[in-house]
């Protein structure tokens, strides 16, 4: 290895005190400087941190944004979410091929550019989007992309037409984007004007017990998907008698089709931090972590500045709001590209520098989480709700929404509609109402809650968006009648194949089987027996998987089988009389060919390589 590479590794380890728990940060710095984490870096990091080399390898190879082979000086990650694919993705891919002469997975001969694909980067309301190093851009056109490539070649950074002119704080010199917020409707969370910090002021004068009681009275349920009562989780942590506790904000926002947490972190970071501080007051935590998905690293400087400001104002640190013994601070943990790290126990492991694999419960994180301490994990929006509750009062909050789903909800609306963006509504509005607001004139299908939610058709548009009926973390992706439902389903199953952590058999292998059968059906080779095959497989995956990813991954198939049966029926043939069901001569020949080469190009992208 190059000596300078080795120096970079040593510097990275030293910067984080050779702490194995900061392995993600160490790997990031090595990746940024050396543009890869290669075999020598693994050895050096292992030596410096005292970790077994294979464990460093295990972590580096787990995350999407660390690579064993060098990336370009400008590492382009093109978002290949289904919405992007339907809105200009192919044109961008053509430009990249044309201008750089490379396809995804490749690097230019001069090492200047690499191109890779990446799942939803949180810009579904302004597609198509991409990441390049720490920059992000949406609403791209071929012309804009050409311009971006020229800027990078000429000046080594994107020009002002990419880094300035963003809406609201997006144009802030610490954020440097041209992104839009697309806030279409404001309510209790987005709409209360200038922040007064009165929520925190009020809470600082209350005891833990009183804070928990207020949250209970508000009826607040988590906004990250599961809808667990917020007071209950905090109460569990509060009851633990330990030296310290931890409050974590889940800003992993990995569900394709969601982006409202991005907008909250852009426009209301103080509200998020205020909510975290109140939660810390409730449980008695002194440590806070904001787990920020790597795709949002462009927000880091902005968020760090807000944290510094809060420390200066006495809203973080010691004796918060002048209250004796109220001590709390927050650090930002950058993820490294793994949807599963949104699952709270995987997120905690990731914060500890490990592979983002969920852990077995019990113990529950609220009893034993980050570094063994009682840890509560909540969604970005949940913390905003907490702050507002202590500002407007539990009763006013509970008056909004429905009995089991109090307050307002932020919806991330995208796809085939004229007004995509963030909509804040009290819980309980119907799908049809939201479709009208976003001006989706020809909606044929809506993905509610993202791939792990439901794909519904027109006969379900009167259902209500709330925990009592259609529960959702906020993704709301509209597809019009020209879209191919099965292609959407296929894209989502592919997403789960790519994002399964691989810990347990049914999810690791079963999703690959689902994908194979969807391909067969889409190719027009499906048989009626394939439906039972899919259902049975889905049943085993859902029933025996270890975490929420496997419990929900077959849903795109199951919900479309229920809501769009004709789409499948149109493509399926009865099994050929006389021939064995499932037998496909072409496939059998292909298999023989693969076997002869000992390789299956379809499913084994890099089985022979190391880190992907």
């Amino acid at each position: 290895m190059d000596n300078t590479d080795s120096v970079a590794v040593k510097e990275a380890c030293a910067r984080f005190d050779f702490d194995p728990k900061r392995l993600l940060d160490i790997l990031w710095q090595v990746q940024d400087v050396n543009r890869c984490v290669d075999a020598n870096a693994l050895t050096d990091i292992a030596q410096a941190t005292g970790l077994p080399r294979v464990s460093v390898d295990g972590v580096a190879s787990f995350y999407h944004f660390y690579s064993s082979r060098p990336k370009g000086r400008f590492a382009i990650y093109l978002c290949d979410d289904i919405v992007d694919r339907q809105h200009g993705f192919n044109d961008l891919l053509a430009v990249l091929r044309d201008e750089l002469g490379i396809a995804p997975g490749q690097i230019t001969a001069d090492g200047l550019f690499s191109v890779d694909l990446t799942p939803c980067i949180g810009l579904c309301d302004q597609p198509p989007g991409l990441l390049v190093n720490q920059y992000i851009a949406g609403s791209l056109t071929p012309a804009k992309l050409r311009r971006l490539l020229q800027d990078l070649k000429k000046d080594s950074h994107p020009g002002s037409s990419f880094t300035q002119g963003g809406e609201g704080q997006n144009g802030n010199s610490l954020i440097q984007t041209r992104l839009k917020n697309n806030i279409r409707r404001r309510g209790a969370i987005l709409g209360s004007g200038q922040l007064t910090e009165s929520g925190l002021q009020n809470a600082s004068e209350l005891s833990s017990f009183e804070i928990l009681e207020t949250l209970r009275a508000s009826g607040l349920r988590g906004r990250g998907g599961a809808g667990y009562p917020v007071w209950q989780k905090l109460d569990t942590a509060f009851r633990q008698i330990t030296a310290d506790k931890v409050v974590i904000c889940n800003a992993d926002e990995g569900e394709p089709g969601t982006f409202k947490d991005r907008v909250l972190l852009t426009e209301q970071p103080d509200l998020v931090f205020e909510g975290m501080t109140i939660a810390a007051r409730a449980t008695g935590a002194s440590q806070g972590i904001l787990y920020l998905r790597a795709e949002y690293r462009y927000l880091e400087a902005w968020l760090e500045e807000r944290l510094a400001q809060r420390r200066a104002e006495g809203l973080l640190g010691s004796h918060i709001c002048g209250t004796e013994g109220f001590n709390f601070d927050i650090r930002i943990q950058r993820g490294a590209g793994a949807y599963i790290c949104g699952e709270e126990s995987a997120l905690i492991r990731s914060c500890e520098g490990g592979r983002g694999e969920p852990t077995s419960r019990p113990p529950y994180p609220a009893i034993q989480g980050y570094k063994g301490l009682p840890t509560t994990v909540n969604n970005v929006e949940t913390f905003c709700c907490i702050a507002r509750i202590f500002e407007i009062g539990a009763t006013a909050f509970a008056r909004l929404g429905t009995p089991q789903s109090t307050g307002t909800k932020l919806f991330s609306v995208s796809g085939d509609c004229r007004k995509p963006g963030v909509y804040e509504f009290p819980f309980g509005l119907t799908v049809r109402e939201l479709l009208n607001h976003c001006q989706a004139d020809d909606a044929a299908a809506v993905v509610v809650g993202g791939p792990s939610g439901q794909i519904i058709g027109r006969n379900e548009f009167d259902r209500r968006l709330c925990f009592e009926d259609l529960a959702t973390a906020g993704a709301f992706v509209v597809f019009n009648s020209t879209r191919n439902i099965l292609e959407i389903v296929r894209a989502y199953i592919q997403f789960f194949v790519d994002e399964s952590c691989g810990y347990c058999t049914p999810c690791r292998v079963g999703n690959v089987f689902l994908l194979e059968r969807m391909d067969k059906i889409i190719a027009g080779k499906g048989e009626t027996t394939d439906i039972d095959y899919l259902r049975q497989l889905a049943d085993t995956i859902i029933e025996t998987s270890r975490c929420g990813l496997g419990h929900t991954s077959p849903r795109p198939i199951l919900s479309t089988l229920a809501n769009f049966p004709l789409v499948y029926a149109a493509l399926l043939k009865a099994p050929n009389a006389g021939s064995q069901p499932g037998f496909d001569i072409q496939k059998a020949l292909d298999e023989a060919r693969h076997l002869a080469h000992r390789g299956s190009t379809l499913y084994d992208r890099d089985y022979s390589g190391g880190v992907s």
């Binding site: 294979v54 464990s55 390898d57 399964s500 952590c501 691989g502 690791r508 292998v509």
Partner: protein, 256 residues
């Protein structure tokens, strides 16, 4: 609360009453009571990890892994039910199709837990699933040990034995999802400090024919091996991992 803290309590397993010592997992309680729950990644003496999911049981209507789920008072558990065994068959078929398993030419045939589990669950004909045919490297660099990743089922028994018993940490998982594999703590096995004395390398730790002790392969002829003679069950599935007992030889010496 006081009931859960009592030192013993009972649960129901397939209609049978089982006495549990507080702190036991469902698997441990059933093992002690002589009730076999099928398993592949779990192994006595190693911390359970709940990854193969073959030990899935029905606990008051919810399916959970018996090896990691604590037993709790009043649990009504289904184990040998048609539904669970159907799930287990699917899981075992997944493991077969995920790797490259050609039993007739495999050195582990007859003492392989995956093969034995397939027989136990009645997998006698081809399954409907596709073969994934991965390209996985064989590492024969070590003078005494070979690693044929084609047959690895990612049970992690070698990882835990090496880390917790041998204190060497020769193995760990690398990669993610379907690309997840077993890695070794160097470029190849020969450069690690793995040795035949390791518990991780002891026969029976690896349930399949992935970790191979060179020159010992065909010491017992195929056809006369443990699972050739009797189905996998409680008596012969549980390995005893005690640090001082380097090579548990009891498998082959079992009376016919």
């Amino acid at each position: 609360m006081s009931e859960t803290l009592a030192s013993t309590f009972t649960i129901q397993v397939d209609g049978q009453t089982v006495t549990v010592q507080a702190g036991q997992s469902i698997m441990e309680a059933c093992d002690a009571a002589g009730i076999y729950i099928p398993r592949l990644c779990d192994c006595e003496g190693l911390v359970p990890q709940g990854s193969c999911r073959v030990c899935c049981v029905d606990i008051n209507g919810r399916i959970q892994a018996a090896c990691t789920q604590p037993a709790a008072p009043g649990q009504v558990i289904g184990n040998e039910t048609p539904t669970l065994n159907a799930h287990r068959r699917t899981l075992v078929e997944m493991l077969f199709h995920e790797g490259n398993h050609l039993c007739p030419i495999c050195e582990a045939s007859g003492r392989c837990e995956l093969q034995a589990m397939a027989y136990r669950l009645g997998i006698t004909q081809a399954s409907p699933y596709p073969y994934l045919q991965p390209v996985r490297p064989v590492d024969a660099s070590h003078p005494d040990i070979a690693l044929d990743n084609n047959r690895c089922i990612l049970c992690g028994r070698c990882i835990r034995a090496s880390r917790d018993i041998d204190q060497k940490h020769v193995f760990d998982y690398v990669g993610r999802g379907i690309h997840k594999r077993i890695g070794v703590s160097a470029a190849r096995l020969a450069e690690t400090d793995a040795s035949l004395e390791d518990e991780a390398i002891a026969r029976g730790t690896c349930p399949v024919g992935c970790i191979l002790r060179k020159r010992e392969g065909f010491d017992t002829p195929v056809g006369q091996r443990l699972f050739d003679r009797r189905p996998i069950d409680l008596d012969n599935a549980v390995q005893h991992h005690i640090p001082t007992q380097a090579v548990p030889a009891h498998i082959e010496s079992d009376p016919p």
